[in-house]
C-alpha cells in the first residue's frame, strides 16, 4: 500500500503548508480555467460538427472577390448552375436563396428573412415538420400553387397557434400563399428561420449580368478533403473568369464549414491567437507551479539526501513528489471546470444578447463531455510536467555532496540556472502575450472610436423594403419616399429625415467599376468601389462635408444624366492628377450608363471599421435617379442624443407603417447601437484578451516574484557575507538587479519580436494593430514589473542585520 501512504503523505504536506498550497492552486486554477473556458468556447462554437448524420461533410460554398471572402448569397446563379453541372467532389451541390419578405394577414404586416429552398436543403439538415409537410422541388416549378412553411414562433405570433393552420393563406409579398407546414423552433438551419418558400431562382432567360445571387451549400463525397474541393472550385471559377472577364474578374470561390462561415473570415486567426494566448498562460502556470514545487524540493534537499542514504529507491522518491503535483493539479482542475462553467454561463448571456444576430443553432458553448475529457487530459499533462521535472531534478544531485556540502553548492547552482531559465521564459511569454492582447484591445478601441466620416450620435435608423409587385415603377417609389419623409417630419420629435441604401458601418455594395478612358487590357483587372444610393439631403443630415464640386440637387432626377458624388479615397485611388469633377465611370455589373462625378466629399466608412473597409473608395449615387425598393431611413431627432427620446422606436415604426401597410420598418435602432452591434464580436474577443493579458501579468509577476524571493531567500546568507565584507545596500540592489536585468534583456529580446510577429500576423486580418507606443510601453511595463519583483524581496532581505542574515539557514 505504498501508493496510498504516498498520497496520504503528499496530502499531509499540502495541508501543513497552507500558503504554499493556496498559491500553487491559485496559479494552476487560473491557467486551467482559461484553458477549459477557451476549449469549451472554441469547441462549442466552431469545432463540433453539425448535429446531422453528414454534419462533418456539410460545407458552405462561397465566393472570394478581390481576395475578400463573401458569404451567404454570394454566387451569381449563372455561375452556380454552370459549376453544378461540372463539380465532382460533392454528393449534394445545391443553392438556396434568401430574401426579405413582407408577410401580411388581414390585420398585421411583418417583415422577415425568408429562405427559398430545395428538397436537398431539408434532407441534409434532417428537417422534420411539426405539422404538415416539407417543401418539394415540385413546389418550385412555375405554375405550381404558391406554398410556404412557417416557423413555430410565427405560427404562435401571427396565428395564435391555430390548430387548423394548414391550408390557410398568408399574403407573402402581396401574393396569397398557402401554408403547408409548421417547422419546430429547434430547426435553425443554417440560421434561425421564420419562413421557407420554394426555390425558384434561375438563370434561364435572364441575362448573366442581371443574375440573382444565391447561397450555395454542398455535402462533400466521403474521403474528399477541403483542399481537393477547393482546388476543383478554383479551377472551375478560373474558367468562368476566362469566359466572362467583365463579370467575373477577380472572382473565385472556396468551401468552408458553416461554423467557420458564420464566424467570418478572420476567425481562424482569432482562434489561433486565442489558442496561443491560452497555451502561453497554461505554460506560465505550469512553469510557476513547477518552480514552486522545485524550490520546495530543493529546500528538502537534505531530507531527500538522507532518505537516499538510508536506501530509498529514486523511483519511490520521484513518485512521492509526483503525488504532490498530481493533487495540486487535480484540485485545480476541478475548481477550473467549475469556474469555467460559471464564466461560460455569465459570458454567454452577455455575448449572445450583444450579438446583432441570433447565435447559430449548433452553438453549444458550455462545459460538455468533451470539455471534461479535455480538462482531465490537460490536468494530467500539467501534473506530469509540473511534477516530474522538479522531482527528477531534485533527486538527480549527488546526495553525498548534498550531505557534505555546507555551502549548498551543487544544488543551489542547479536551481540558480533553472531560476534564470524560468525568469527568461516568463518574460518571453508574458511579453508576447501582452503585446498580442494589447494589440487587439488597441485595435478594437480604435475601431470603436473611429470617425466614420458622419455624425453618429443623434441619428436614428430604420430599414424598409417595398413590396415588389406594387412598387415596380420608379414613380411609385419616388412618391413613397416623398410620403415617408413628410410623415416622419410631421412628428414633433423628428427634425430631419433622409434615405440611404446603406448606413455607415454597414457593408455597402462593392462593385467593379470601369473608368472612362482607361484601357484594362485583354484580361481586365477592374478596380472596385462601394456604391451607396442616397437621398439628396443625406450629406447635410449626416454632416458629410463637400470638398469640391456640388452635392445632389433637383437637377439630378430620373432621365437626366447619371451623377455621382465620390469620396476622397475614390479621387486618390482613381484620378492620379487629383481632378475628379467631370470624370466618368460605370458599374460593370449593374449599369451600362456612365456616371459623371459632380462632387467630392470626405471619406465615409461602410462595413466594420477594419483596414480593408476603411480603404474602400465610395461613390454616392442619387436614389432620385435610381430609386430602389430597400433602403434605410436616417432620422435626426430634436434631442442631441437619439437615445434620449422616449418611444422613438414606436413613433418611427407607427409612422412608417402608416405610409405603407405592406412595408413595415425593421432594424429600428440608433446608429450608434447598430455600429456597436456590428462590433460586438470583436469587442467580446478583445475583452477576452484583456482577461488573458491580465492573467498573464499576474502569473508572470507572481512567478518572477516567487523565483526572485526564493533565490533571495536561498541567498540570504550570501547577502550577509557580502554585507559583512562591506557591500552597502546599493551594492546589493545593483547585484540582484544586474542579475535580473540580464534575464530581462534576454527575455525581451525573444519576447518582443515574438509579440510583434503575432501582432503583425493579426494585423493582416485587421484583428490587432501594433503601434510604436505599444512596442515600447509593453516592454517598459514588464521591465518595471520585473524590477519590482526583484526590488521587493531584496529590500525585505536588507531589513535584517547582516549578522542575522549570516546565521540564516
Amino acid at each position: 500500500m505504498n501508493i496510498l501512504s504516498d498520497i496520504n503523505f503528499a496530502f499531509r504536506t499540502l495541508i501543513k503548508n497552507p500558503k504554499f498550497t493556496a498559491l500553487t492552486i491559485f496559479v494552476m486554477t487560473t491557467g486551467l480555467t482559461l484553458c477549459i473556458y477557451m476549449f469549451s468556447f472554441i469547441h462549442g462554437s466552431l469545432v463540433a460538427p453539425l448535429p446531422f448524420e453528414n454534419g462533418e461533410r456539410i460545407r458552405a460554398v462561397d465566393t472570394i472577390y478581390n481576395g475578400m471572402q463573401y458569404q451567404g448569397t454570394s454566387f451569381r446563379v449563372h455561375d452556380f448552375e454552370d459549376i453544378k453541372k461540372r463539380v465532382q467532389s460533392y454528393e449534394v451541390f445545391d443553392a438556396y436563396d434568401q430574401g426579405t419578405v413582407n408577410l401580411s394577414t388581414t390585420d398585421r404586416a411583418v417583415k422577415y428573412t425568408g429562405h427559398y429552398v430545395k428538397e436537398s436543403f431539408f434532407e441534409i439538415s434532417e428537417a422534420k415538420p411539426q405539422l404538415g409537410r416539407l417543401l418539394t422541388n415540385d413546389d418550385g416549378l412555375s405554375g405550381a400553387e404558391p406554398v410556404t412553411l412557417i416557423s413555430h414562433t410565427l405560427w404562435q405570433n401571427m396565428f395564435a397557434g391555430d390548430k387548423d393552420i394548414l391550408g390557410k393563406k398568408l399574403r407573402i409579398n402581396t401574393e396569397p400563399t398557402t401554408i403547408v407546414g409548421v417547422m419546430p423552433d429547434s430547426y435553425q438551419f443554417p440560421s434561425a428561420g421564420r419562413i421557407w418558400l420554394p426555390y425558384t431562382t434561375t438563370a434561364k432567360g435572364i441575362a448573366r449580368k442581371d443574375g440573382d445571387y444565391v447561397a450555395v451549400y454542398g455535402v462533400l463525397k466521403p474521403g474528399i478533403s477541403d483542399e481537393q474541393a477547393n482546388a476543383e472550385l478554383r479551377s472551375l471559377m478560373a474558367e468562368l473568369e476566362e469566359s466572362y472577364p467583365k463579370l467575373n474578374s477577380n472572382t473565385s470561390a472556396h468551401v468552408w464549414t458553416l461554423q467557420s462561415a458564420a464566424m467570418g473570415s478572420g476567425t481562424p486567426t482569432i482562434i489561433l491567437a486565442m489558442e496561443l494566448a491560452v497555451g502561453f498562460i497554461l505554460l506560465l502556470a505550469c512553469i510557476n507551479v513547477g518552480n514552486l514545487l522545485f524550490s520546495r524540493a530543493i529546500e528538502k534537499g537534505k531530507e531527500t539526501a538522507i532518505r537516499t542514504a538510508l536506501g530509498a529507491p529514486r523511483s519511490r522518491l520521484i513518485m512521492q513528489m509526483m503525488w504532490e503535483s498530481t493533487l495540486i493539479c487535480t484540485i485545480s482542475g476541478v475548481l477550473a471546470v467549475l469556474f469555467a462553467g460559471l464564466w461560460l454561463e455569465v459570458a454567454n448571456k452577455d455575448l449572445l444578447s450583444s450579438f446583432p444576430f441570433d447565435p447559430p443553432f449548433w452553438w453549444n458553448i458550455q462545459i460538455t463531455q468533451s470539455s471534461i475529457i479535455a480538462a482531465i487530459v490537460i490536468t494530467l499533462v500539467t501534473a506530469l510536467i509540473t511534477g516530474i521535472l522538479p522531482a527528477l531534478k531534485a533527486t538527480s544531485g549527488d546526495f553525498n555532496a548534498t550531505l557534505r556540502d555546507g555551502t549548498r553548492g551543487a544544488q543551489s547552482k542547479a536551481s540558480g540556472r533553472l531560476s534564470k531559465m524560468i525568469v527568461i521564459s516568463e518574460v518571453v511569454l508574458s511579453c508576447a502575450l501582452l503585446l498580442l492582447s494589447t494589440g487587439m484591445v488597441y485595435s478594437v478601441n480604435q475601431q470603436n472610436n473611429i470617425d466614420y466620416g458622419t455624425t453618429i450620435e443623434d441619428i436614428f435608423t430604420a430599414r424598409v423594403g417595398l413590396p415588389e409587385a406594387e412598387y415596380k415603377s420608379d414613380e411609385k417609389r419616388l412618391q413613397y419616399y416623398q410620403n415617408l419623409k413628410a410623415t416622419l417630419l410631421a412628428e414633433p420629435e423628428i427634425s430631419a429625415v433622409s434615405l440611404t441604401r446603406t448606413i455607415p458601418g454597414n457593408g455597402a455594395s462593392y462593385q467593379n467599376i470601369l473608368l472612362e478612358g482607361v484601357d484594362y487590357g485583354k484580361k481586365p483587372q477592374y478596380p472596385s468601389s462601394s456604391s451607396v444610393g442616397v437621398d439628396h439631403n443625406y450629406f447635410s443630415v449626416m454632416t458629410i462635408n463637400l470638398r469640391e464640386g456640388r452635392l445632389f440637387d433637383s437637377r439630378d432626377k430620373i432621365g437626366s444624366p447619371l451623377t455621382a458624388v465620390v469620396t476622397d479615397k475614390f479621387v486618390n485611388k482613381f484620378f492620379k492628377d487629383g481632378v475628379a469633377l467631370g470624370k466618368r465611370f460605370k458599374f460593370i455589373e449593374t449599369d451600362n450608363d456612365w456616371y459623371t462625378v459632380i462632387g467630392v466629399v470626405n471619406d465615409v466608412i461602410h462595413g466594420q471599421p477594419m483596414s480593408f473597409n476603411i480603404e474602400k473608395p465610395t461613390a454616392f449615387i442619387s436614389i432620385q435617379q435610381t430609386p430602389k425598393r430597400f433602403m434605410s431611413v436616417v432620422i435626426k431627432t430634436v434631442a442631441s442624443d437619439a437615445q434620449n427620446v422616449p418611444n422613438l422606436a414606436k413613433i418611427v415604426a407607427d409612422s412608417i407603417q402608416k405610409v405603407e401597410r405592406d412595408a413595415p420598418a425593421y432594424d429600428i435602432k440608433t446608429l450608434r447601437n447598430s455600429i456597436i452591434g456590428r462590433n460586438a464580436g470583436m469587442n467580446f474577443v478583445s475583452e477576452l484578451f484583456l482577461v488573458f493579458a491580465a492573467a498573464s501579468m499576474v502569473l508572470a509577476f507572481s512567478g518572477i516574484y516567487g523565483v526572485m524571493s526564493n533565490t533571495i531567500i536561498q541567498k540570504t546568507q550570501e547577502i550577509g557575507i557580502r554585507r559583512a565584507l562591506g557591500a552597502d545596500n546599493s551594492d546589493i540592489y545593483k547585484y540582484f538587479i544586474k542579475q535580473g536585468l540580464k534575464q530581462l534583456v534576454i527575455g525581451l529580446a525573444i519576447g518582443v519580436p515574438m509579440g510583434v510577429a503575432l501582432v503583425t500576423m493579426l494585423e493582416e486580418s485587421s484583428i490587432a494593430q501594433g503601434s510604436l507606443m505599444l512596442y515600447f510601453s509593453v516592454p517598459a511595463f514588464i521591465s518595471f514589473i520585473i524590477l519590482l519583483a526583484v526590488y521587493y524581496p531584496v529590500s525585505r532581505a536588507l531589513k535584517m542585520e547582516p549578522c542575522e542574515a549570516l546565521r540564516h539557514e
Binding site: I721, R722, L725, G726, D728, D731
Partner: protein
C-alpha cells in the same frame, strides 16, 4: 600603541515578543593596534554577539563604540558598510565562501566594493593575500573543490586582502580537524607577527593560548581580562 577600538558601557538586548535576552551588559573594552586578543566563555554567553557588534554587523542597544577615533554608533548604513569594507576583515566558523565564485573571485569580493582600486591593483592584492595563506595555486577552483582547511585559508585571505585594521574571527577552527586547525592558527600567528590586529573567539584552549590577551565573558559580562601568560587557560574555558 594606538588605541584602535574603545567600547564603553555597551549593552545588547534582544527583544522578542515573549522574552528579552540581555546578551551583553556593561561591556568596557579597549583594543590596541597590533594586539592579538582572544575571547572565551561558555556557550551562549555573548561572544559572537560582541564580535558582531565589533564588526558592525549588528548594532548595540546602548553605549559608546569608537573605532580609530571615530564614533561608529550614530552612523548610517552606508558608512557602516564602508567601514566594514576598509577596516574590518571577517573569518567565520563555517568559512562562508560564495559557492558560485572561484577562489580568486571570493578573495576579490570585498575589493570590488571599493571605488578607489583599479583592476590591476585588485589583482595584485588578491594574489598577495592568496600567497600569504599559501593558496596561490588554487585560484581558479570553486569552494566545493577544496578541503575545509583550504576553504578557511581562502576565507582568511579574503579577510586580509584589503589590509583591514582588525581581523575578527569567530571560532575559525570550529569546523576543522586538529591538523587543519593548527594550520589556520599558525597562519593567524604569522599575520599577527607581521603586525595585524586580531580578535578571535575560540573554544579551543590551545588556540586561545596563542593570543597575547584573553577576555572571559560570562552571562554577557566581561569577568576577566588578562595577558595569556598569567591565565590558566584550561581552567578558564572549562
Amino acid at each position: 600603541m594606538k588605541t584602535l577600538i574603545k567600547l564603553a558601557n555597551l549593552k545588547k538586548v534582544f527583544s522578542t515578543d515573549e522574552v528579552e535576552t540581555h546578551a551583553l551588559s556593561d561591556i568596557n573594552l579597549e583594543i590596541k593596534q597590533g594586539e592579538y586578543l582572544s575571547i572565551a566563555g561558555p556557550s551562549g554567553c555573548g561572544k559572537s554577539t560582541l564580535l558582531s557588534i565589533l564588526g558592525l554587523l549588528d548594532t548595540s542597544s546602548e553605549g559608546c563604540y569608537t573605532l580609530n577615533g571615530h564614533d561608529v554608533v550614530d552612523i548610517n548604513a552606508k558608512q557602516r558598510a564602508a567601514i566594514r569594507n576598509k577596516e574590518i576583515g571577517f573569518v567565520f566558523q563555517s568559512f562562508n565562501l560564495i559557492s558560485e565564485l572561484t577562489v580568486a573571485e571570493n578573495v576579490a569580493l570585498p575589493l570590488t566594493y571599493r571605488k578607489d582600486l583599479s583592476k590591476t591593483e585588485r589583482t595584485e592584492l588578491v594574489t598577495a593575500a592568496l600567497e600569504k595563506v599559501d593558496m596561490g595555486h588554487r585560484t581558479k577552483h570553486y569552494p566545493s573543490q577544496l578541503s575545509g582547511g583550504q576553504q578557511q585559508r581562502v576565507a582568511v585571505a579574503r579577510a586580509i586582502a584589503g589590509n583591514p585594521s582588525i581581523i575578527l574571527a569567530d571560532e575559525p577552527t570550529g569546523n576543522l580537524d586538529s591538523k587543519n586547525a593548527e594550520l589556520v592558527m599558525a597562519l593567524l600567528d604569522k599575520l599577527h607577527a607581521e603586525g595585524a590586529t586580531i580578535c578571535m573567539v575560540t573554544h579551543d584552549p590551545r588556540g586561545a593560548k596563542r593570543a597575547e590577551r584573553i577576555i572571559e565573558i560570562f552571562d554577557g559580562r566581561i569577568v576577566s581580562d588578562s595577558p595569556t601568560s598569567e591565565t590558566h587557560i584550561e581552567e578558564a574555558v572549562a
